[in-house]
Every structure is written in C-alpha cells, then in structure tokens.
Symmetry: C2
Subunit: 407 residues, 2 copies
C-alpha cells in the first residue's frame, strides 16, 4: 500500500472517473469554487451526513437522490463559498436546479447528481453562477492527477492546504485504486450518521454494491472523521461520499479485508490532514484513552479533553498542566477513579495513581509538548474500553480567523 506522500498519484487514480474545477464567481476571492466529478455509466455510492438538526439544502437533496436511485451517482457537483444552509425552500429549489443543469450536460437523470455546498450559512445560493459554469466545468474534465487535484482545490474554504490521500492494492494481478480528498479547517467536530462542513469524497474503482460500500464506510468514518476535533463545532453540511466505479474488475466481496484496510488508511490520512490544517493549529495532539469501561466512555472522555478550552490553550504554549487534562476528563460524565489513573505526555510520566508522577520532569515534558505532534496517553483503570482521537491546540490565530468581521 502506498500513500500520497510517498508516491506519485499519476498512475494510481481509480479508473472510471473524471474531475475538474472552474471559477464560477461564488468565492469573493475569485478562486476556484466549483468542482465536478463524473463517473460515466454511474458509480455505486454510500454516504454519511451531519447529524446536526439544521441541515443544508444539498444534504437534504443528496440524501433524497441516493434513496431515489438506490445509491447510484453519475456526477458530483460541489460549490465552495456558500453553504446553501438555512435558505428554506428556495435553497432546496436552487440545489435542484444545479443538479438539473449537470444532468442535462451529461444526459442522465437529475437524481443521479450528488450536490454539496460549503461556505457561509444563510445567504441565498447564487445558482445562476453555478448553472452558467457547468459547461466550462464539463469541458475541463480529465482523468489525470492534475484534474483530481483541481477538484480537491476548488472545494476548499478557509483551508490552507489541499488534502488528498491515496491507497492501492493488488490482487491476482489486478489493481484496486482509492483516491480521496477533503476540505475542512474549522467547524470541525463531526458526528456523522449513516444517511455528515467537512466534505470528503472517496473514489475507487472496485466493484461493489451501495450496501457493501455503506457497511464498510460506517466503521471507517467512526474511527477517522468521527474521532477528530478542531473546535468541537459540528457543521450543517458535513458529508462523506464514497463512489465505486467497478472499473478495476475486482469484486469488493472477494477482497473485503484489503479494501477495508485501504479505505481506513485513506480516511485516517485525510482526517489527520484536516486537523493538521485546522484553523490556527500549531500542535496536533493525539489522545490515546485506554482502560475505560467501554469504547464509548473512552471516546466521551477523549472528546471532552479535545474540546476543552483550558487544555487546548495549555497545548498552544506546551504547558505541561496535566491538572487540566484530569479536570476535563472528570467532567465528561464518565465514572472513573482518579486513584487508578496513569497519564503520560509524549511518553513521559506526569500523573500516577491519584498524584503527580514521582518522575515528573516539567522541563522534559515541556520539550516533548513543543513538538508539532505528540501523544497524550490516559489509562483510566481496569476496563477494556479505548479510543484514539486526534485534536489540536487553541491559538490566537484561531480567534483571529473566526473573529474576523468587518462591517
């Protein structure tokens, strides 16, 4: 298995897809803001959406389309710069119009088009700009790495980096490819449910049914995108979409383990890249919680620490203030006995059985926390529940990015 960081993507892209992006004039910056992905003949699809009570129009429409087609997608149209959320029935109509425009361009039915939007909430979607840009997006389609990268670029908003990941495996001389891309730097605290403004698109050329894809996507998302947090805020537009073209000729049912590993590898890679590019992030912190009564308890504690302003500000200055870790864990609503707790930071002991570790070395711990990435291990007790969670610090830059408002 290879990943994007070590291998050229050029000859590893899944067969059966074409990508493009154009400037439709939705982003005030004038950057690429409309992304198009097409699978001629249609792909089997599985998706997960935000569990927010407020859901954007494209999440509603995308869900309906998948239901109507039994999980079949011919094209994905994504705009950045406007979330088409809290826009009422007109927002639904605008979303449908963009799907119809794409369907007409490719001679398919409109419910085979999967829509996504990301950007500001509550502002009417400039659908005319999208409709007008579809021909140019169609003309720009291609199956080369620069096309896939163009797609991955246009979906970005406050992100500072393009986020792509790739995995491939061979089986009996045949190659299965998986390519994924993501956007998201703020309002990241996903809680995706099967029917998720983090946007993730996963493309593969394996042959699978929509149901097979859905059963693999759920666990992969739970351990990756549902195990990260930047600010704990959950978007109204979060979406993860997995499309399988079948063009590799390899049946998913015959390589479940290999495909599952490749899928999880790509999801983990993208999830980590989202946190690494989080708004104002200077430290990426992995929380390894073990010894809880259940995995759910471990994840609840991890999420509470991951979203604690006091923990996150301490991380920003590499402050080994382990008391804040314990205080946050203690308010998570999970019962545990501090006298059984062990904590290490960057492998260094800081807390043991109810008191500061005998070997606690403040200077060494501070040095470990000065690295861009490190792990905090919290062992709670004799249980077998565990969680692996990736989060980040809270910095002045985060406040600046999100408080930036000018009349």
């Amino acid at each position: 298995m290879n990943d994007a960081t070590s291998t050229s993507l050029s000859n590893k892209l899944p067969l059966g897809f074409r990508w493009s992006s154009v400037k439709a004039g939705i982003k005030a910056s004038g950057k690429l803001d409309l992304a198009l992905a097409v699978c001629d003949g249609g792909a089997a699809a599985a998706a997960m959406f935000t569990s927010n009570q407020l859901v954007a129009a494209p999440v509603i429409v995308g869900g309906r389309h998948l239901t109507a087609t039994g999980g079949r997608v011919s094209a994905v149209i994504v705009n950045a710069g406007n979330a088409n959320c809290a826009t009422g029935e007109p927002g639904i109509d605008d979303c449908r119009r963009s799907c119809v425009a794409v369907a007409e361009a490719f001679g398919c039915v409109f419910d085979e088009i999967f829509p996504s939007s990301t950007g500001i909430i509550g502002v009417p979607l400039p659908v005319e700009k999208i409709v007008a840009a579809v021909p140019a997006a169609k003309a720009a389609l291609g199956d080369r790495i620069e096309n896939a990268e163009a797609f991955a670029t246009a979906i970005l908003t406050t992100d500072t980096k393009r986020k792509i990941a790739q995995a491939s495996f061979e089986i009996d001389g045949q190659t299965v490819n998986l390519f994924g891309c993501a956007k998201g730097a703020g309002m990241i605290g996903p809680q995706l449910v099967p029917h998720a403004t983090m946007l993730v698109y996963l493309f593969t050329d394996i042959e699978a049914t929509s149901a097979e894809l859905q059963s693999l996507l759920g666990p992969a998302v739970e351990e990756s995108f549902n195990a990260i947090s930047i600010d704990g805020d959950m978007s109204t537009n979060d979406t993860v979409l997995l499309l399988a073209s079948g063009k590799s000729g390899v049946l998913a049912a015959e390589v479940v383990r290999e495909f599952d590993q490749a899928l999880k590898r790509v999801c983990d890679d993208l999830a980590h890249k989202i946190v690494d590019d989080g708004e104002g992030v200077t430290h990426v912190v992995t929380l390894d919680i073990t010894g809880a009564e259940s995995d759910a308890d471990a994840k609840t504690i991890a999420r509470t620490i991951a979203t604690s302003p006091l923990c996150k500000t301490a991380w920003s200055s590499a402050d080994p203030n382990w008391g804040r870790l314990l205080a946050a864990a203690g308010r998570a609503g999970v019962v545990f006995d501090p006298a059984q707790v062990l904590i290490t930071i960057g492998g260094l002991p800081v807390f043991e059985y109810g008191v500061r570790a005998a070997d606690f070395d403040e200077a060494a711990t501070h040095a470990a926390m000065s690295e861009r990435e490190y792990t905090i291990m919290i062992h709670l007790g004799p249980g077998s529940g565990r969680a692996h969670f990736t989060t980040c610090d809270l910095t002045h830059e985060y406040v600046s990015i999100n408080a930036d408002y000018s009349t």
Copy 2:
C-alpha cells in the same frame, strides 16, 4: 431589597459573622491569600459541590465535615494559590491539619471547620504556611464591611475584580441580611450537585435548619451558578456554601418567599459578576431560550451555544453570524424543527421560520452586538421549556491568559 451596587454594605451585613484575611505566602504574587470567616456558636450550613470525577481534598473533607456535624459550621478557611487537588492522601491530611489549626484557635471541634482551596492543581498544599498564618487571621477578624471585603479579596485568583452582593428585607420590624462573595474567572462551567474552582460564600443571619437551607440553595444555584459559562470547563473545587447564624431572630420557615427571593437575587448578582469578570471577556451575552420541549432541552441548547468556540469568537467581533447559533443549537442533541425557529439579537430579528429574517439589518445587529451586554433570544417551537443562561465571548486575551506559560 437593596443590592451592593446601590447601597453601602456597612450596615447591611448579617449579624453573627466576623471576617478577615492575611498574606500567608501561598500566592507567588505575595497578595492576600488566606481568608477566614467565623460564626461564634456555629451556623447552620448547606453546600453544593462540583460534580467533577476529580475532586479536590477540601471538597472531600468539607463534605465529610458537613455530614459529621449535620450541617454545622463554626469557621470557614479558604486559601487561594493552591487547589490541593490531585494531591492524594497527603492532600487530605494537609487539609485536615489546616482545619485542626483553626479549630484549636477557636476552641471548637475540627469538623466544624469548612475548608476551601483554589489555585493550581497537583502541587502539594503548603499547609505549614496556613497553620502559621491562622493566629494573624484570627487577630484581624472583624464584623465591618472592610473585614467582609478583605475575605472577598483573598479568595480571588485570576479574577480582576472583587465580587460581592447583598440583599436585605424587613419583616415585622426585623431585618434579615444576606451577604455573598464569589471568586472565579476561568474554568467556569459549573455543574453543581447537592453534597462544586468557583467558590461562593453566602452569609445570612436568618434562623434556619441545614435542611431548610439546602432545599432553598439547590433551586437558587440551578438558576444562577449552574446557568453560566465562561469556558465550559468545570473545576475540581467548585463550592457554594450558605451559612445562617440565626442572629436576626427571624425564622426562615416564616419568610420562605422573601428569603428565597433575596437568596436568588444575591446568587444571580454574583453569577453575573463572575461572567462579567471572566478571563478576557469583552461581551456578556444572555441567552433566552424558549419554546423547547422541556427546560432541560432549553438548557442543553443554551449550554451548547454558550460553549461553542465559533459562536464565542463571532461575539468577540460583534459579528451577526446567526448561522453559527443555529449550527450550535443543531448539534446539542435536542430535536427541533428549524422551520419553526425565531431568533432575535438585541431585540432585532435575524432568523424567522427557516430563513434569514426579512427585516434582517446587518449593520443594526452589528451595532447591537457592539454593546458590552445584550440578549440573544431563540424561540424553538410550541413547547413550554425555557432557559436563561449567561455567557461571554472568546477573545485573544482569554488565550493569552490561559496559554501563559514560561519555563
């Protein structure tokens, strides 16, 4: 009824109490750090403590003492600068030693002493400094306003202001007085349960049993200290203590309504002062949630908005980004229909029935949010559940205060 802001406290203090504070050398700054309050003959007491799984030694010892005495307190000893938390059995022993030192000074039994600590977690309590300072604290006791203010000053840590409140009422020519003081500016997201490093001390001269006081304290705390948030972090030391000397000669049982009102007035006043003095706060925001299925649902939504980094950073720049309010409400785990929701900010309509309000005036809303204090009203639907919650913005200054660490 009068309050501290409009009336001199000097002749409104409850009878039967004396207060003092001294510099024991616990705070690195060298400021006042040991506070003592004494009720000769003992006061009936009720208390509520943090529901954190990690609780400080004084919370454990204080709870045991109240149980042992059936709710009787002769003196309160509070140190600031060290939380005596995560200090194990030695921390319990240190706490007990400080209680014994106070008991010996006043000729009472040690379990009539109520201890509190606030400050850094995980560092052994310098109990020798406390024991050594008790005689000076005893010598400084007095029943004048400057004595009560000295008590209220020594309990502060990162607070920038002393927080005191007062209420009095007359009944048949007799006066009942209530004086309260509080500390807390960070790690404020209390969830107090009856058996809470926000520290609140309430002194009254009404005559009441411990049980009567407890039954009145619970609802007053639920609507005040349990309805505020600065950073959502819950301390390991949160404590609210209500002491009644009985010296007014007025029986609580005969003036329940008047006393309840006075108690709630003092608690509301102190709770508001805690948020107003929150770390880095530039805006105090009151959330009025109505139309929920239950009060609990309304409070859950209020708390989720109150602790949302995206909402709090928007408030810091007076950004009328109401989409963030809706997105936070939507992830609270409470079911509601956005098409039924009404939102006003500072009385101005911003969102109505699923879409941006027709009369939304961005400039006027920005102006309303530029005030130091304003109210956000969110009406969710046809239910009768409601919550009133006070919170604040998240600023660069908050990050600076909590990321301040030097090796």
